[in-house]
């Protein structure tokens, strides 16, 4: 049943709900795939086999008793290891967090997916404390790109990208502060959704930058993003930053097409430093949408810089005590950046937050005349694991911080983005489909249309 690994979540749910597939068979298949391929991919850091099999048996009993099936019934999923999973210490990609007591309760997003019938099978590798774009981790090793295992999965949700692209699970959760959902989506060639800031509850997940953190799903198609996102929506009083908006389902609108939508390509900053594959990806998507109009996001380079400052300083504040007491237990790549972040004067941070409101107002004004803005998710396809530099716009630049140049100015103001994979050879690259706040429905509609046209898809990796 190796077909299950690359099946879409909604296909699995349909087969389980009609009785052609037991939830147990699905979970056993996923556990088997993890056993066979996780050694290579290094996507999973914990496998919750007992819990998953028990849940599967319960769902199969429900079905036998004729109880109605949820939209994700029997679908195995996994979560970045910064999500609270009952019984596990929430690792957040670190060594230090392993000493935490086990989580008492699952994160609400896990609870909501399970309420829809999905089954948690484990926790996924990530860049330490989410301060990462590569998926590398000094303690747990790098998660690898299934399309070429010598290459980065991208990060910080590296295990999420690797697990879904590698056919271990059809659905995963990650987080995105400056690009940590969109970058692995791009490098691994899968679909990712970073919803509007404040849409999905961040309760019971380990934070990074309170001003910028988002949580969201990865999948192999737009429909699965819509189904899982709809299941996770809804106010949560346990998260102060979670907005009190009604659930706004995206699935009913998903197949509506793009008629009437005003779509433009982000120019200027969002074309600077793009490698040929990133430009090719954008071109393909633009062509499929019939979009040619260019739009400029003003001062995007300063937006990226402001996000950088806020990230460095809020990250440092979060970890200050850990840096004082256990600096040696950090991944050196995160440690030195966090220490530096602790030394930035507060006046500069306040200025960055003031700039943020200005930039937000300017960009929201653009959305009066446009519904969707397109930009590459990454400047290039996946670099090799451990690669230190690349040539960006004729200048040799460090790889790590520059992977996120196109994602940062967007997450900076919390706009919803669907990252959609363009199956280029030899490696995929994703495009950001960016909508106005609260219009995840539009971003997903465009993704669905592109998929139906054949312009985007999650390519299967070569057999290993």
């Amino acid at each position: 049943m190796s077909e299950l690994g690359f099946a879409k979540a909604h296909e699995i749910a349909a087969a389980v709900s009609r009785g052609d597939l037991t939830a147990r068979a699905v979970v056993e298949d996923a556990l088997s795939a993890i056993r066979n391929r996780n050694q290579t991919l290094n996507a999973f850091t914990d496998v919750t086999a007992e819990r998953a099999l028990a849940r599967a048996d319960a769902l199969d009993a429900d079905r036998a008793a004729g109880r109605p099936a949820g939209p994700l019934t029997g679908v195995p999923f996994a979560v970045k290891n910064l999500f609270d999973v009952k019984g596990l210490p929430t690792r957040a990609g670190s060594k230090i967090n392993r000493d935490r007591p086990p989580a008492q309760q699952d994160s609400p997003l896990i609870e909501r997916l399970e309420a829809a019938g999905a089954i948690l099978v484990g926790a996924l590798n990530m860049g330490e404390y989410a301060y990462d774009f590569t998926g590398e981790n000094a303690h747990d090793g790098p998660s690898r790109n299934p399309h070429d295992v010598s290459r980065m999965s991208g990060g910080s949700s590296g295990g999420s990208g690797s697990a879904v692209a590698g056919g271990l699970v059809p659905l995963a959760l990650g987080s995105d502060t400056n690009g940590s959902i969109r970058v692995p989506s791009s490098f691994c060639g899968i679909f990712g959704l970073k919803p509007t800031y404040g849409r999905l509850s961040r309760a019971r997940s380990f934070p990074f930058v309170a001003s910028l953190d988002h949580l969201g799903p990865f999948a192999r198609c737009a429909r699965d993003l819509a189904i899982s996102y709809d299941a996770m929506q809804g106010h949560d009083p346990d998260d102060e930053a979670c907005v009190d908006r009604p659930v706004e389902p995206t699935l009913p609108q998903l197949d509506r097409g793009i008629e009437g939508l005003r779509i433009a390509l982000a120019g200027g900053y969002f074309r600077k430093g793009a490698f040929p594959e990133a430009l090719q990806a954008i071109e393909r998507v633009a062509k499929a949408l019939g979009a040619s109009r260019e739009i400029e996001l003003p001062e995007a380079h300063r937006a990226r810089a402001a996000a950088y400052v806020i990230t460095a300083t809020e990250g440092a504040a979060l970890h200050l005590d850990r840096l004082r007491q256990r600096a040696h237990d950090f991944d050196p790549a995160t440690r030195d950046r966090l220490i530096a972040g602790a030394m930035i004067p507060a006046s500069l941070v306040v200025k960055a937050q003031k700039f943020r409101r200005w930039y937000r107002d300017e960009v929201l004004a653009l959305f009066r005349d446009v519904d969707v803005i397109l930009a590459p998710a990454t400047p290039c396809a996946a670099p090799a694991i451990g690669q230190q530099t690349f040539v960006l716009d004729g200048v040799e630049m460090p790889v790590r911080p520059n992977i996120g140049i196109y994602t940062q100015p967007i997450s900076f103001i919390g706009l919803p983005v669907a990252a959609v994979p363009v199956p280029l050879e030899p490696l995929p690259v994703a495009v950001q489909v960016i909508a106005a706040p609260w219009r995840e429905d539009i971003a997903l509609r465009v993704a669905q249309y592109l998929e139906a046209q054949g312009a985007i898809m999650a390519p299967r990796p070569p057999l290993s």
Partner: protein, 136 residues
């Protein structure tokens, strides 16, 4: 006119159609499946989780069907023909993806000028009682 049951050549014809249908089903050959049901509003298919009235509903179902977990093995297949233009095909099936359940499929076949067509079909599942001896 005496209705002759199980005329060998008729049984052979319907068996061939039945096997062609089975191949199309497990390989999700939607065009073949569509062609083998009678294109008429009277055609009815009770599926495992849906009741479909008329060819259009059945066709829509086929095109939207998840291609996952279609593999199955048949057992106790019984094809009975009545005269030259009518037959009933019944079979049990097991899916490796759903152990512990037995599927039942029944089809009513009628010969039309254009060939044999399914005019009615029913698919349902039975949970195997735990600990029961395996049968068939």
């Amino acid at each position: 006119m005496a209705l002759e049951i199980n005329l060998p050549d008729v049984v052979a014809e319907v068996t061939a159609e039945f096997e062609r249908y089975e191949d199309a089903l497990v390989n999700n050959k939607v065009d073949v499946l569509d062609a083998m049901f009678r294109d008429a509003p009277e055609t009815i298919r009770y599926g495992a989780t849906e009741n479909l009235y008329g060819y259009e509903e059945i066709k829509a179902f086929r095109s939207a069907r998840s291609p996952v977990a279609l593999g199955r093995t048949l057992s106790k297949t019984v094809i009975t023909t009545y005269g030259r233009d009518f037959a009933v095909a019944s079979t049990l099936y097991q899916r490796p993806s759903a152990p512990g359940r037995t599927g039942r499929q029944m089809q009513t076949w009628v010969r039309f000028p254009e060939g044999w067509r399914v005019v009615a079909a029913h698919v349902s599942l039975m949970e195997e009682p735990k600990g029961a001896p395996k049968r068939g």
